[in-house]
Amino acid sequence: MSNDIASARKIERRTFLKGAGAATITALTIGFELSGPRRAQALAAAAPGNSPPFAPNAFVRIGADNSITIIAKHIEMGQGSYTGLATILADELDADWAQVRVESAPADATRYANLVFGKLQGTGGSSSIANSWPQLRDAGAKARAMLLTAAASEWHVPVGELTVDKSVISHAASKRQATFGSLVKKAAALPVPDTVRLKDPKDFKLIGGRPPRVDVAAKCDGTAQFTIDVEMPGMLVALLKRSPLFGGKVKSFDGAAAMQVPGVVKIVQVPGGVAVVAKSFWAAKQGRDALKVDWDDSSAEKRSSAAMMDEYRRLADQPALPARKEGDAKKAIGDAARKISAGYEFPYLAHAPMEPLAAVVKLDAKTCEIWTGDQFQTMDQMNAAHAAGLDPGQVSIHTLYAGGSFGRRANTISDYVVEAVSIAKAFGADGTPIKLQWTREDDIRGGLYRPMYFHKLEAGLNAQNELVGWHHVIVGQSIMAGTIFAAGMKDGIDSTSVEGAANIAYAIPNIAVDLSTAKAGVPVLWWRVVGSSHTTFAVEAFIDEVAHAAGADPYTFRRKLLEHEPRMKAVLELAADKAGWTSGPLPKGRGRGIAVCEAFNSFVAQVAEVSVDDAGRVKVDRVVCAVDCGTAVNPDIIKAQMEGGIGFGLGAALYGAITLKDGRVEQSNFNDYRVLRMNEAPKVEVYIVPSTEKPTGVGEPGVAPVGPAVANAVFAATGKRVYAFPFVKNEIARS
């Protein structure tokens, strides 16, 4: 009997991997306790087509073929969400991981809202696992309970005598077994229980283990489907020519030369520019190159980023809005035995996901169907409906794998989705599928950047070298102002501008954190780890400078100020311990730096080891990372997110900057918007703090500490501080 199950599983797995149709799977859907005529009956009943799947809730569907389909309300953009979400549900269900597959949820905020966002469906803020944890445990446990009830009633035995393992329910006393698939018809007829008991964490089988990622195999043989890979009969490809200045508008255009390019079908003007619609990418690209557009720049942003930074520096000395105020920081610093001050410059940053943005739209008079790596379904549905002149309910979205995002796809104006819909509408809304494809240049110059910021910090030490006052002023554009999220701003403070600064955990008796929100015509957006992408640098580089001024070791100085913050202190200690912090200084030309942060309710500390050569070139040799993200749903994916976050943050710290000259973006591709490459990637070690707390974010927090850890290591190696990003702007020759 057990052999039957084993061989059945083998076939299931093979057919699952092949994505084969129902026919071959029929034979597997047997109740193993049956034989003879009853077995044949069961076979017939279990055959797909005869029995609809068991779908007790919006998140799981179990087929008579034993397939377990878990519906992901969050996009898979590399962060491992499909695997993590499926792991939570499958564990409570006691499912066989080999039978689990994941499909993306449709756009439907009533069923698939991100519970952190309220009524919006979307992914962001490192919240996928955190918000889904209770929801998917409940969904899995209820499905399991119904299958158990079905088996108990079938066998006339008490539910309490049944056990479940790998999608098979067993009754030991009568030696009966049944697969989930064989029970779907019966289970589907049962009421969904109101409440259900969740597993004791000690009984988790998949959570905390290493179930392989559901997306990895297809990503190793070229079969994973991204938006660029969508093809359908009659589909056309569009490229859009946009204003070289932010805020520029089309005055007039001449499409005659573009229309001469073989394969170009139509030139259409849309609110975002002029689009060339063609039979292939290559034709559309050549057509766009030949297209002449005259722009109206009267309301465009024409300043240079250097001039804007000068203005930010001036604003830092002007009155600003308080984001946090405890005690009297000004007085404490004024009265201090020693005063330390510093200013830090942060540039605009592009997200530059590997997959250039793209969306396929099929629009007719009554429906709009969208295929894209969609991160913000509800927003995109509303904006697409508005652009199409339809109701949101007439817009459907197929969420595909996204080739990275780092925040770029979750934007409140749905820029590239609206462009694609507008093009389809201007084309005639005749049902022709149109794929809008961005190039890398479109991406680097396309705006929605991490805002540029200036930070000014002052601190005071008393005669005992204790930190008695801290004053932090942040100047930059608001991400939330003017968007649907503006309602969440309190007293003029955009929390995404000050997170990581206003909530610093260090015990300082007098703290003031102020925000001065600057205005600019450059569209901005959250970028992986959002506010902490700059605030953690300012805080952690400056506290290092304060520690040095106090004559203290930067690790022990921080640790002392975190006595009342056990989780933050614990990651700091773990990183320092694993990095050998107390083992003494590194040889000449090398240095070690430390930084710690809390972001998206997780705690991360990192120790960086760097080498600086005589020309001042910085090489990061090793980064040791400790993370406390509550229950580790999939430790290997958590490690991968820390490794990736470190590489992403490091590339930006060392090389990343978008600069404007008279309003024009000076970078265009990976030649001048440098990102981290293999030869620059450090060794990374990740240590996860064991925890039974609720799981918290891992996609973003790993990005924040690496910049300051490296800057502090550069100081240890050279005696020179870094005050402006990227590092390549600084002169770091070893003294």
Binding site: M77, G78, Q79, G80, P212, R213, D215, V216, A217, A218, K219, C220, D221, G222, T223, A224, Q225, F226, I228, D229, E231, P262, S280, F281, W282, A352, P353, M354, E355, P356, Y401, A402, G403, G404, F406, T439, R440, E441, D636, I637, A640, E643, G644, G645, I646, G647, F648, L650, G651, N669, F670, N671, V675, L676, R677, M678, N679, A681, K683, V684
Partner: protein, 153 residues
């Protein structure tokens, strides 16, 4: 106009603009989607394929320039080294978003086909043209070392 070359071992005639970059000929004319567009100027490696066994960036190579030559894409990988690379990639769970990974696997396979035991410096040399924005670099490095071992066995 038609250009004839060997695509994954098969003689293939593609009727397309001879100046079309090979990348788009592979993707849109031949219909093989594993090879990806990332930058269009040979800066990122997402479009890496093998030309007569050597890794090249198909986004800057014209279709006409490969006439009569052998092109291998991710769909056509066959060698012992390629299989070892793909197995190591799965074993070490390398991909995150996955978009660059076809190019990474093509570059890693080409490396192992000419160097059965690459050092870290060899890996830096062969792989630094392939960007991964998810920064899966530590796992790519480990997977190449693991694949080198298993391909030898």
């Amino acid at each position: 106009m038609s250009t004839t070359f060997f695509l994954n071992g098969q003689s293939t005639a593609l009727d397309a603009d001879p100046n079309m970059p090979l990348l788009w000929a592979i993707r849109e004319v031949a219909g093989l989607h594993g090879t990806k567009f990332g930058c269009g100027m040979a800066m990122c490696g997402a479009c890496t394929v093998h030309l007569d066994g050597q890794p090249i960036r198909s986004c800057v190579m014209t279709l006409s320039s490969v006439a009569g030559r052998h092109i291998t894409t991710i769909e056509g990988l066959q060698s012992k080294q390629a299989k070892a690379v793909q197995a190591a990639w799965i074993d070490l769970q390398v991909p995150q978003c996955g978009y660059c990974q076809s190019g990474q696997i093509m570059a890693a396979t080409a490396l192992l086909e000419k160097n059965s035991a690459p050092s870290d410096a060899d890996i830096d040399g062969a792989m630094s043209g392939n960007i991964c924005r998810c920064a899966t670099y530590p796992r790519i490095r480990a997977a190449i070392h693991a694949a080198a071992q298993s391909a030898k066995a």
